[in-house]
């Protein structure tokens, strides 16, 4: 479990992380999503005690990182850049890390095996490709068999096979009951791996939501219906069990129905339709809209940070349309 409270980091005049609070729970993959420069890596470095917070605090398993008895046995982290001495072999790199935390040396070969680097284990890591470097970083994270894992942009530089592998790995780690915290700037990536989503933009938390809610809200296609007889058509559609959302006076978003069904329904009741369109918003768009708003978002707003947009709310259950 990772708990951040009011975490803030200032670099000179740049407020990289601003009053960030969130909790990462065990047993699920929590995605940490934000555009470039949003403050993901900085937040992760603060969790690991590498960067000192300007304000606020963060704990792992209830303790400040530097108070962990044997950190590698409790937390495994893949940092954003290849953070390895290039002159040392992969084997020796992992060996010195294992030794520092009293981890048996057999574990080094085990993790090298897991990430598929045994063939190059004795080669200096400076010759490693980006993907091999990532694999080595992941091996280091797994070394102490920790209950908490953090991955900063783990799919960076991995080939499709590697991407598939790391996704499976993260799911498996979470299924084992571990805390898995993974950053990315790709919504599509998060949609595939994460159960929970923490969205950060310009150093602020924009959303802290269940992935399913986020998808329900943003990725389900809906049908845009415009009709001069909406006051009658609306209740008819809601009665069918479709979720209906008001857009403007005479137009509605309808979830859970196909355009053809709506057209037929209107025809059956002799109602006129002025527009009937299927809308397919991508998660990526939803994310960009969310983070794109950030600048104006905190421009006129006072401290403390405003509540995130209504992404965290549970969507209305189907059949219970929010009709006027």
């Amino acid at each position: 479990m990772i708990e951040a409270r009011g975490l803030t980091k200032r670099f000179g005049s740049k407020l990289a992380v601003n009053q960030v609070s969130f909790t990462v729970l065990p047993g699920q993959v929590t995605g940490f999503l934000g555009p470039n420069g949003a403050g993901k890596s900085t937040t992760m470095r603060m969790i690991l005690g590498l960067d000192r917070p300007t304000a606020g605090h963060v704990t792992v398993n209830g303790r400040h990182y530097s108070r962990l008895a044997a950190p590698l046995r409790e937390v495994g982290a893949l940092l954003d850049a290849k953070s390895v001495h290039g002159g040392r072999s992969a084997h020796h790199h992992l060996l010195c890390l294992a030794q520092s935390n009293g981890i048996p040396r057999e574990r080094v070969d085990e993790v090298l095996d897991m990430v598929g680097l045994q063939a190059v284990a004795r080669k200096p890591t400076r010759g490693f490709s980006l993907g091999m470097g990532q694999r080595l970083g992941i091996a280091a994270a797994l070394l102490g068999d920790p209950a908490v894992l953090m991955f900063d942009e783990p799919v960076n530089g991995l080939d499709p096979e590697g991407i598939h592998w790391i996704r499976g790995l993260m799911r498996k780690l979470a299924a084992e009951g571990r805390t898995v915290f993974v950053s990315s700037h790709l919504m599509s990536e998060m949609a595939i791996t994460a159960d929970h989503l923490v969205v950060i933009g310009q150093g602020r938390i924009l959303a802290d939501t269940d992935m399913q809610d986020f998808i329900d809200r943003n990725a389900t296609s809906h049908v845009l219906v415009r009709s001069p007889q909406m006051s009658e058509l609306g209740p008819l559609m809601a009665a069918r069990g479709w979720r209906v959302e008001m857009v403007a006076d005479l137009s509605l978003k309808v979830f859970g129905a196909r355009a053809a069904e709506i057209g037929d329904l209107a025809a059956d009741h002799g109602m006129r339709l002025h527009e009937l369109a299927t809308v397919q918003p991508s998660l990526e768009e939803a994310f960009m809209q969310l983070t794109g708003d950030v600048v104006e978002y905190h421009a006129g707003l006072p401290e403390p940070p405003p509540p995130p947009p209504p992404l965290g709310d549970a969507p209305a259950p189907p059949g219970n349309g929010d009709l006027p």
Partner: protein, 309 residues
Amino acid sequence: MSDKTPHDPTPDDAAPNGAAPNGAALEDTRPSRRGMEDTKPRRPAPRELTPRASFANVLLSEWTKIRTVKSTFWTLLSGAAVVVGFSALFALAFTSSYDDLPPAERATVVPTSPMQIAFYFGMVIFGVLGVLVITGEYATGMIRTALTAMPRRPEYLLAKAVVLALVVLVAGLVVSFLSFFVSQAVLSAKNLDGSLGDEGVLRAVIGGGLYLTLIALLALGVGVILRHTSGSVVTVFLVLFVLGIVGGFLPGEWGATIAKYLPSNAGGAILLPRAEEGSLEPWTGLGLFALYALVVLVVALVLFQSRDA
């Protein structure tokens, strides 16, 4: 505690060979999202207390680090080559010019004179090793990995210093004795040689090893403070080599007094069997040098503790 860990994170269900390159990017590897809440196996009992990473663990780790990069071997080898080689060379210079020296200068030639000069030329190389053990980590980003493994920074730096000191002490003693014996062999041609039994000679030779150790530690401190290899090496070179020479040009009695206290002049005093005109007492000099190194290391520790890695 048993090494048997409660989990085996092998991603066996995600065998890499099963993925079609184009399908992989979109494949949902989750077990159906909706029904997961109930079936998700929770972490069982809280794990037993993990043993604290001890200082001995960190020492062992630092030992592995220093012996598994080639730069350690090469800096020590070149340092040894320069010190031992120059000892022979200057011993040769002393023997060949001895007859032409005025009596007053002849009196200043002692058995350890060649190695004292050789140390002056070779010492910076041992400093380079001290710099590299830390700037090598900053340059590659290894420092961040290392500090996640050992976030107690004073302990981390202390372990690094201890391992560096032990390595350079052993190498330094070997170099010092070699340099002594090689130069004595050359000096014996003119009967200028001495033996370890002579007054102050054994102390000078052992002191040479200690001096190189302190140089490496001072350089480690400089490396921690500057975090940059080239900048740190240049700084060490300026402080030890250049400053010592500049000291010789300082005018008057006042200048001579200052010169005695400059780092490499103070430290180099240990290499003489007896204190000479213009140098501190051997142990006083080396003690002062140790103090300089300590001050640098304390500053380094304070910065290391407070800065972002």
